[in-house]
């Protein structure tokens, strides 16, 4: 079933509405950098849930989760379960996020100056920006693959299509900052959720629940259900994922920005708790689509233990099985709604990530450098200008990196490892800094550097698997903080606001 005029009309209406609504945000920005970066810290519970969920649910999320489901069956659900449960625990306990919100931060590295030193804030800012932008670097290509397969746009227009979408996102993000992102996130969250529910119903209806279970059973046997005996998962994977998701929910800039933007620490906890339940569906539902695609189209030659998808006589990659399935089973009109929903997911993630990483560059790289060089502090308006320029710079990088780099192995695991470059050290420094009096600057530097080395060296140079790289990063970061703090001089830095960066 091709993409009809009705489908194109639905997509065009969504794009126009999204950009128009996004541009509304400019009216509320004024000259205040806290309006631009954290929406004046005025987010309520429901809009907080919408923006946090929309930020962390993109087409890329659907693609990598569906790929995991296709390759590893129901065992993949363990990753979704861990992510959701970790979020609910963080929300219920207020672990890290309550203290962060009380400190009125705007970025995660800002904490490093309050607790440790300006230099460590700068180092963390550089690592966060590097890991975050590399992480986001693969989004465009994969989102483009989804759109071309489902809508039938010829592959030669992929670059043009993704460039146009990126430019639309940049337009309202640069103009209206966090307020624009929050307004569009609300619209996008509703649309992407409707698309998610529709696709789940279609997938189960066409593949059939019993067939789905039988296919996993016949293809993978017990490894398709029990993650502890699946060679890709196992106990080490579960522990690494627990560490990773606790650090993601507390120290990932785009998630943390939502916590900083809420009206109070209590609301930030509630937003995190309820979004945790959404996270269960965010992982498991697309994984189910992947398993349905395996059931319907998994009939090709074996590739790493599972049959490759074959659609209309063409053998595809496992990553492309889910969009190929959608192109076959969705009816006209529904397909338009689903593609608009996926575009909504794409735009909400990309705009939030653009703002998140550009805010790190402006607040935690440019501003600390100016202070180290003993230059005058920037005014609020100048900080907004720097952020906008950084936003454009990140977009340009994404255009080139995203469209020409292909990640090795499963996308989910690539994203996990690039995130771990800074998350391991950042999480250890934040948790240690907040809950261990002895943590000091020497320990902080050691943790950040050893955590980054623990992720980069094993994965990119030694080509060890992702689980070992993840373990190495968190383990080395923890050792770095403890040993460095014990060897270094004790310090009692007051957690006060940093002049010129907090409102």
């Amino acid at each position: 079933m091709g993409f009809t005029y009705l489908d194109w009309s639905i997509v065009a209406i969504y794009l126009a509405a999204s950009v128009a609504v996004g541009l509304l945000g400019k009216r509320f920005i004024g000259k205040n950098v806290s309006h631009y970066l954290v929406a004046g810290r005025e987010l309520g519970l429901y809009i907080g849930i919408a923006t946090l969920a929309a930020t962390e649910i993109g087409t890329i999320t659907f693609m990598y989760n569906a790929e995991l489901g296709y390759r590893y069956g129901f065992s993949a659900f363990s990753a979704a379960l861990i992510s959701g449960l970790a979020m609910i625990i963080v929300g219920r306990t207020g672990f890290v996020i309550r203290r962060f919100r009380e400190m009125q931060l705007m970025t995660v590295p800002e904490y490093f100056e309050r607790k440790y030193s300006l230099g460590l804030r700068l180092l963390t800012g550089i690592l966060v920006a590097l890991g975050g932008i590399l992480n986001m670097g693969v989004f465009l290509r994969i989102e483009g693959e989804f759109l071309t397969i489902v809508s039938g746009i010829p592959g030669r227009y992929l670059v043009l299509t993704m460039t146009v979408i990126l430019l639309l996102e940049v337009l309202y993000t640069v103009v209206g900052g966090m307020v624009s992102v929050v307004i569009t996130d609300f619209l996008q969250y509703v649309l992407l959720s409707v698309a998610t529910i529709l696709v789940s119903i279609y997938a189960v209806h066409y593949a059939g629940w019993n067939h789905i279970v039988d296919k996993v059973s016949s293809t993978m046997n017990v490894a398709g259900f029990n993650p502890l005996v699946n060679p890709k998962f196992g106990l080490t994977f579960v522990i690494w994922q627990l560490l990773l998701w606790f650090s993601l929910h507390t120290c990932w800039q785009t998630t943390a920005m939502r916590m900083f933007s809420t009206r109070s620490p209590e609301i930030s906890r509630k937003v995190m708790t309820w979004t945790g339940f959404i996270y269960l569906g965010r992982g498991m539902l697309p994984m189910l689509w992947g398993i349905a695609a395996l059931t319907l189209f998994g009939a090709g030659p074996m590739d790493r233990g599972v049959p490759s998808p074959v659609v209309n006589g063409r053998t595809l990659k496992s990553l492309d099985a889910m969009p190929a399935m959608l192109s076959q089973i969705l009816h006209p009109g529904i397909k338009g709604i689903v593609v608009a929903g996926m575009l909504a997911a794409t735009m909400s993630v990309n705009s939030s990530y653009l703002l998140g990483w550009s805010s790190i560059i402006s607040q935690d790289v440019v501003l600390p450098m100016r202070r180290l060089l003993q230059k005058q502090p920037l005014s609020s308006r100048a900080q907004i200008v720097v952020n906008r320029v950084a936003n454009l710079f990140v977009s340009l990088f994404l255009m080139f990196w995203g469209l020409y780099y292909t990640p090795p192995g499963a996308v989910y695991l690539y994203l996990n490892v690039t995130g771990t470059i800074f998350l391991a050290g950042a999480f250890v420094c934040v948790a240690g800094g907040l809950y261990w009096r002895r943590a000091n600057t020497v320990g902080g530097y050691s943790a950040m550097l050893m955590g980054a080395a623990g992720a980069i060296v094993p994965f990119f140079f030694l080509h060890w698997n992702e689980t070992i790289a993840g373990f190495a990063a968190f383990g080395l970061a923890a050792v770095g903080l403890v040993v460095g703090s014990v060897l270094g001089r004790p310090q009692n830095a007051p957690l006060m606001s940093v002049k010129g960066t907090t409102t």
């Binding site: 429901y46 307004i183 969250y189």
Partner: protein
């Protein structure tokens, strides 16, 4: 294997129902929140000026 099948089936049901329920609630109540956000930001702007 049977126990894992049941466990994942129940987990999927809980995940799907929570996702749908929260979507409906957020879609309805989020709009009020958004209007409140605009009011508060206007108020902050007035105070800034």
């Amino acid at each position: 294997m049977r126990a894992w099948q049941i466990f994942w089936s129940v987990s999927l049901l809980v995940a799907g129902c929570s996702f749908a329920f929260i979507t409906v609630v957020v879609a309805i109540r989020g709009f009020e929140d958004l209007q409140d956000l605009f009011r508060r930001l206007h108020h902050q702007q007035d105070q800034d000026e």
